[in-house]
């Protein structure tokens, strides 16, 4: 989709009436387009070029890129670092903040810092337990939970106040998101819990991996019955999807990654295929087609960990963007930017002091 006020890299869009952020993701969603978001695997390095290289894989296929915050409780480059690098060249980012590693003082400071660096979207997460990652000996913080984090972020934005009540002079203009997992117990509570997240401030939702479409359908029906998909406070739901590499890796994920529900029939289908990797991709495309048809689904969150190159194919072959080419650095003017060249970065900074 092309707006008549497309961004100059690093510049924010004007905030439209009824919108809360100057970001492209909110615009695409509120315009009723099927939005695609994805996740960038942050490097174990301090090299900015590495981040830009990993983002460029998605050029032209995604509306926003999630910068994960120590996902799986493993240590990587910080989400604020990744977001800052990406927004400098114009990418739309979704800043993930998990409650596991920081208390409310650190988190609120981070929200201001990230918004100042051009992050327009914030995904509020509880975070995986430290036992799941590479530093199981670390202190789990959990000063807040995802719900209170949402509420605090909303207060910062709408009431210009920290949780302490102290005033913020220029509030962070952020579109607020949260995660939900409709696939794990207590299943009958999940739609109500979503309502609670919306009451706390959530405006978009990215779900855990969906490999069980009927369960998602059930969830969406109940969400719709609760009236959460209408009105000015409506929520936009982007189910999580992704290609499985093989039956073996599917089994491993099911056993070891918290919260991923993979039904047996998925594993049987992969096992029966001659090329399991191809089948995994095909399965992901099938699921994408199916969720697209579910009333109330506003897009998809494509997580292709270590298979990032498949994103382009999956989007291309399913045609879910309907010919739309989401903005990326250099889309309209190739000379504009070559994300890998430091000169280009320098240029952006000079243009946008």
């Amino acid at each position: 989709m092309k707006f008549d006020d497309e961004p100059v890299p690093g510049y924010s869009l004007p905030i439209l009436p009824g919108h809360v952020s100057p970001g492209r993701l909110e615009r695409v969603l509120r315009a009723g387009k099927f939005a695609i978001t994805t996740e960038l695997d942050p490097p174990d390095s301090a090299d900015p070029a590495e981040v830009l290289k990993r983002a460029a894989i998605f050029d032209g296929y995604v509306d926003a890129i999630n910068a994960t915050d120590g996902s799986g409780a493993n240590c990587h480059m910080s989400s604020v670092g990744v977001c800052s690098l990406l927004t400098r060249v114009g990418y739309a980012t979704i800043l993930q903040i998990s409650c596991r590693d920081r208390n409310r003082i650190a988190i609120q400071g981070e929200i201001l810092g990230a918004a100042a660096m051009g992050a327009c979207n914030l995904l509020c997460l509880t975070g995986d337990g430290v036992q799941a990652g590479d530093h199981p000996q670390a202190k789990p913080v959990f000063d807040l939970d995802s719900m209170s984090l949402l509420e605090i972020a909303r207060t910062m934005r709408d009431d210009c106040r920290f949780q302490s009540g102290r005033q913020i002079t220029v509030p962070p203009r952020i579109f607020l998101g949260a995660a939900e997992n409709p696939f794990v117990p207590p299943l009958d509570w999940r739609p109500h819990r979503l309502a609670k997240k919306i009451a706390a401030g959530a405006q978009f939702i990215q779900t855990q991996y969906c490999f069980d479409v009927p369960r998602l359908k059930d969830f969406m029906l109940k969400v719709n019955d609760l009236g959460l998909l209408e009105g000015p406070d409506r929520v936009f739901i982007l189910p999580g999807i992704g290609p499985l590499a093989s039956a073996r890796s599917a089994r491993w994920i099911r056993e070891n990654v918290p919260g991923v529900h993979i039904p047996d029939n998925v594993i049987t289908r992969l096992e029966g295929a001659s090329n399991q990797k191809e089948e995994g991709k095909q399965l992901c495309m099938d699921i994408l087609h199916q969720i697209r048809e579910i009333p109330g689904v506003s897009g998809a969150h494509l997580m292709a960990y270590r298979q990032e190159h498949t994103v382009a194919d999956i989007i291309e072959q399913t045609g879910v963007l309907e010919g739309r080419v989401p903005w990326y650095p250099g889309r309209d003017n190739p000379a504009d930017l070559n994300p890998e060249s430091p000169d280009a970065l320098q240029g952006t900074l000079e243009q946008n002091p």
């Binding site: 509880t126 337990g129 789990p140 000063d143 719900m147 117990p185 207590p186 918290p258």
Partner: protein, 160 residues
């Protein structure tokens, strides 16, 4: 104790009723409490509260009890101390992501809330914990809050 606290959640309605009878009783004792001085009685009351709630709920003395809004399942036993419902890591069998041998505190809480008369309190967003209140008596706090509230209402009523 894990077994006791699971038994309590299975009888959440009963404990809800007990608490509803107990709270006004406490509030009625307010004049006595203030004569003795809240600071002086904090320690003994806290000890009793800790003993009773520790036994029944595995209470962690966060000082801002939310049991009536959590299906009588103490949220501070959640390894992530979540106060607003389960994380996304709950196992298919309803057990905890972090401690696989334990049932998720919030799966328990949801079941408890379905048994309670005012179980729908579980849908209200809970404020984050105030860590200054840790290891203080939640009972005495409730009493003081109620007394203050009554006084404010009285004053407002008088002014009208």
């Amino acid at each position: 104790m894990y077994r006791v606290r699971r038994w309590v959640v299975r009888h959440a309605r009963f404990f809800e009723r007990i608490y509803h009878a107990f709270e006004p009783m406490l509030v009625r004792l307010a004049p006595l409490f203030s004569r003795l001085g809240y600071e002086r009685i904090e320690a003994p009351v806290k000890a009793v509260e800790k003993g009773v709630k520790g036994l029944l709920f595995d209470c962690q003395m966060c000082g801002q009890c939310a049991l009536s809004a959590t299906g009588m399942s103490c949220p501070m036993n959640c390894p992530k101390s979540l106060r607003n419902g389960p994380c996304g890591g709950v196992r298919a069998n309803g057990h905890c992501e972090v401690k696989p041998e334990m049932r998720c505190v919030w799966v328990e809480g949801w079941e408890g809330s379905l048994r309670m008369k005012h179980g729908n309190l579980i849908h209200a967003v809970q404020q984050p914990v105030d860590f200054r209140l840790k290891d203080s008596s939640s009972w005495l706090r409730v009493v003081r809050q109620q007394v203050d509230q009554a006084r404010e209402q009285g004053q407002n009523g008088g002014a009208e």
